[in-house]
């Protein structure tokens, strides 16, 4: 019987052959990532549980990105960053990216890609549910809590159940009014928010192969929104070219066998998909934009690991060029590298940053910001009565701040089109 990529990586890192889905195995962890929200409690559990024997299993494999609550006056949030800084200092950690320094990166999932931690064929574990994003590089990546992370910190190991794999094939040429976000929202509608629980989600097809790495990351990023253990896309020339540009050449490439057994296979013709939204209050509450067109908005938001990558801003700038936004519109580059790219990249001779400024957008510093609400002084945070359209990943009650606000999730094209009108708008009206 053939195997899927995820199963092959499980075999490699568990040193076992012929694993069956559902079986529990111990995996060697290649990278452990944490951040300011879950890092401090992870460190505290590690110290308590290992006591005098507490030793970091491999400093080179530990990566810490403060990114969640950064630009806030909240003293408790700032204390969490201090704890990370002291820990990194005490243990001389090579992969700590401190706030207020040149090394500060912003949102961890994008930073992992930029800094070369997404190595194909490896196991990457993070204390963040969106750690599944890294799977776009043909590796196994998943989110865990603090106890599991503390255990890895001391042992380099995690127990995990071998997942079944669900395959999603997107064929056809992606029309200019669609982005990866529309595709993943379509999947969520079809399988719902628990449709992939404990399973791997593998993406393939000609439309995926045409996508750059950032767009692929939007797909794997939201695997968790379907309950998926991981999202994964096999390595191809696009992956190799991205990796070689940051000096990574040595890695294991796995492909799913032709006779691999899948839990399910869903096929899509992308030319038949419409610009899509997830209505309040669930990422699987799908509708096509045309059906909710005209819904009045109070805020628009472009940011986060899901929708704050350079490609998301390229899409948005295309529509915002020469236009003005009618409601407060927040532009939050996920990483400091993206923030720099906004100044360098241009459209019709004008930098993306200037396009957003001219359109009247509010440009914020790189962090997770209002994607998850955050402390009261977080920029872009939703207030009572807000109706928001956002390129982020979740719209459960209160996710972006007030539980008395409503959030629509959409592609950067749809959010930009909606910002121009002040109500939900199909991007085709501007293309």
């Amino acid at each position: 019987m053939g195997k899927t990529i995820t199963q092959k990586i499980f075999e490699k890192n568990s040193h076992k052959k012929n694993l069956t889905p559902g079986e529990s195995v111990w995996l060697d962890v290649d990278v452990l990532m944490t951040h300011d929200v879950c890092g401090p409690p992870t460190i505290s559990i590690w110290k308590n549980e290992f006591g005098d024997k507490a030793k970091i299993w491999d400093k080179n494999k530990l990566v810490i990105f403060p990114d969640h609550y950064i630009f806030t006056k909240n003293v408790h949030a700032n204390r969490n960053v201090d704890i990370l800084r002291q820990f990194a200092d005490e243990h001389q950690l090579p992969n700590y990216y401190d706030v207020g320094t040149e090394r500060y990166k912003g949102v961890c999932h994008l930073a992992l890609a930029e800094e070369g931690f997404n190595v194909p064929g490896t196991v990457l574990i993070g204390t963040d549910s969106h750690t599944c994003t890294s799977g776009a590089f043909g590796l196994f990546s998943t989110g865990v809590g603090n106890t599991d992370a503390a255990f890895i910190l001391g042992t380099g190991k995690i127990w995990e159940k071998v997942p079944d794999t669900m395959k999603f094939i997107f064929d056809g040429e992606l029309p200019n009014y669609l982005t990866a976000k529309d595709l993943i929202l379509q999947i969520l509608a079809d399988i719902t928010t628990d449709g992939a629980t404990y399973r791997a989600m593998e993406f393939d097809g000609s439309a995926i192969r045409q996508m750059n790495m950032y767009e692929r990351m939007t797909l794997t990023n939201m695997a968790i929104e379907a309950g998926g253990m991981n999202g994964i896309i096999s390595v191809d020339d696009v992956t190799k070219s991205f990796l070689s540009s940051i000096g990574i050449f040595d890695y294991d490439i796995f492909y799913s066998d032709d006779d691999a057994k899948y839990f399910s296979v869903n096929k899509y013709d992308v030319t038949k998909i419409e610009p899509t939204v997830a209505k309040p209050h669930s990422p699987d509450n799908r509708d096509i934009v045309r059906n909710v067109e005209g819904t009045k908005l109070t805020k628009c938001y472009i940011g986060s690991c899901t929708g704050g990558k350079i490609t998301d801003f390229e899409f948005a700038a295309k529509l915002l060029f020469g236009n003005k936004v009618k409601v407060p519109t927040f532009v939050v580059p996920a990483s400091t590298q993206v923030a720099k790219q906004l100044e360098i990249e241009s459209l019709n001779g004008i930098s993306l940053k200037e396009i957003f400024e001219n359109a009247g957008c509010i440009i914020a510093e790189s962090s997770c910001a209002a994607c998850l609400g955050g402390p009261a002084d977080t920029i872009g945070r939703s207030s009572d009565g807000d109706i928001v359209i956002s390129t982020t990943n979740r719209n459960f009650p209160g996710r972006m701040g007030s539980k008395k606000s409503k959030v629509y999730l959409a592609s950067p094209l749809t959010v930009a089109a909606s910002a121009i009108n002040g109500f939900i708008t199909d991007p085709r009206n501007f293309l």
């Binding site: 529990s24 929200v37 879950c38 401090p40 409690p41 505290s44 308590n48 549980e49 290992f50 969640h68 609550y69 909240n74 408790h76 949030a77 204390r79 969490n80 993070g126 204390t127 963040d128 549910s129 750690t131 989110g143 865990v144 809590g145 603090n146 106890t147 599991d148 255990f151 001391g154 042992t155 127990w159 159940k161 928010t193 628990d194 629980t197 404990y198 309950g227 253990m229 669930s282 998850l372 609400g373 955050g374 402390p375 009261a376 979740r394 459960f396 009650p397 209160g398 996710r399 701040g401 539980k403």
Partner: protein
């Protein structure tokens, strides 16, 4: 591990995500300083819209006033309990509030393993939908070994799914105890 768990039911719907269990803005408190740890109990389930808090009628706060402990120690919920973020603060906050067990139709993976590995509470799966049969405030008794739930108030019995492969970790009281017992660390 307690083999018999008794307590009052607090009933919730489907897709109770981690932002409803403990809103992200509260994740700034230290989990190792006792006075701050209490805040996690105080804010437990504070993100659930009030009309859906404590079914069937709703409008029952899980935590009264300034308390950090709840009078309800068993949660009954629908599908996909604990979906959303990886924050271990979610089962931790329920634990601080005094929750001993949850009975839901299904769980999100990370919440499930955080509950088990952190030893915070016992996540049990029901065989049938129960959140339309049990009312908030009903007195319940869970028999962990025999996988049975008794609704004392209504004198009804329900079968539960066995814990399966995680039983040993639950019985040990979490991943670290389990690993020490098995000489892994």
């Amino acid at each position: 591990m307690e083999k018999i768990i008794k307590g009052k039911a607090y009933v919730l719907g489907n897709n109770i995500d981690t932002d409803q269990i403990i809103p992200a803005e509260h994740l700034v408190y230290s989990t190792s300083i006792p006075n701050e740890l209490k805040m996690y109990g105080h804010f437990a389930l504070s993100g659930v819209p009030i009309e859906k808090a404590g079914l069937p009628d709703g409008n029952i706060p899980f935590i009264e006033d300034e308390n950090s402990e709840s009078e309800f120690s068993i949660i009954i919920a629908g599908t996909n309990f604990g979906c959303g973020s990886s924050r271990e603060h979610a089962p931790l906050s329920l634990n601080v509030a005094g929750v001993k067990a949850i009975i839901a139709e299904s769980y999100a993976r990370i919440f499930y393993r955080n509950s088990v590995d952190g030893g915070f509470l016992i996540p049990i799966e029901s065989i049938n939908k129960l959140n339309d049969k049990i009312e908030t405030g009903d007195e319940l008794e869970i028999d962990i070994i025999n996988n049975q739930l008794k609704n004392i108030t209504k004198n009804l019995f329900y079968e539960l799914k066995p814990l399966g492969s995680v039983f040993e970790i639950v019985e040990s009281g979490g991943l670290f105890n389990y690993a020490r017992k098995n000489k892994m660390i």
